[in-house]
Symmetry: C2
Subunit: 138 residues, 2 copies
């Protein structure tokens, strides 16, 4: 495998951290407005499909015991619900509610609303960017 030039690599890391800083800036304001914390928002994002507590813990890179309290708070606010898994009675499946869907969309919108250059990219360039990012992650 070829090693890209270190100069281009360094620029890439700068661009990516700049992107992250930009997204988090827009997100934090909305989290504040919605009285949500980053782990709760992260959990909402991970629930595009229903998932078990264990699966959520793996995605969070954290111990399973932490997920209990996070799901407790989301459930108390009506954003997710616990469901039984008919195939394995040990498993609790977490599903986002319609209110959770709306909150998820609102947070994504707030984060991406900070990308000032989004409207300046043509559809072709956007496709190009999507393709390059897909190949980068592999």
């Amino acid at each position: 495998m070829r090693a890209p030039t270190s100069a281009a690599l360094q620029i890439l890391s700068t661009r990516i951290t700049g992107l992250l800083d930009c997204l988090s800036q827009g997100l934090h304001g909305e989290l504040r407005a919605q009285d949500l914390t980053p782990p709760l928002a992260m959990t909402l994002r991970l629930l595009d499909e229903p998932r078990s507590m264990r699966s959520l813990a793996d995605a969070h890179h954290c111990d399973a015991s932490n997920i209990t309290g996070i799901v407790d708070r989301l459930e108390k606010r009506g954003l997710v619900e616990r469901c039984a898994d008919p195939t394995d009675r040990r498993v609790t499946v977490i599903r986002r509610s319609p209110a959770g869907d709306a909150m998820r969309a609102r947070l994504v919108g707030a984060a991406f609303g900070t990308l000032a250059g989004l409207g300046t990219l043509s559809d072709t360039e956007l496709d190009q960017l999507n393709d390059l990012l897909a190949r980068l992650v592999g």
Copy 2:
């Protein structure tokens, strides 16, 4: 400003969250190995140039009072040092030590080492990606 097609936008958000998930996966293993936490690592990344406590709090999107403990831990491990600001005696300037520089490089390497497709992009494509990301953030 033109609105990009919603399909391409949805793909973009999927690509970007996929990129973030990939980077955080590689980073978390190294944080564990180095006995560091995300806020401490974030602070090391923000210190490519010396910054005041206040500036760090702004970049973290958190209250200034939290930075005291974070810098305390980094300083105790020899990764940063507190310096006086000759122009304003209220200000404490935080500077990364050589050990902090090395740790920062190690963490960045661990995060980007998870990008499986990095070696498959040509130098031209890498430049293209960097350009598109720069325009996206604006």
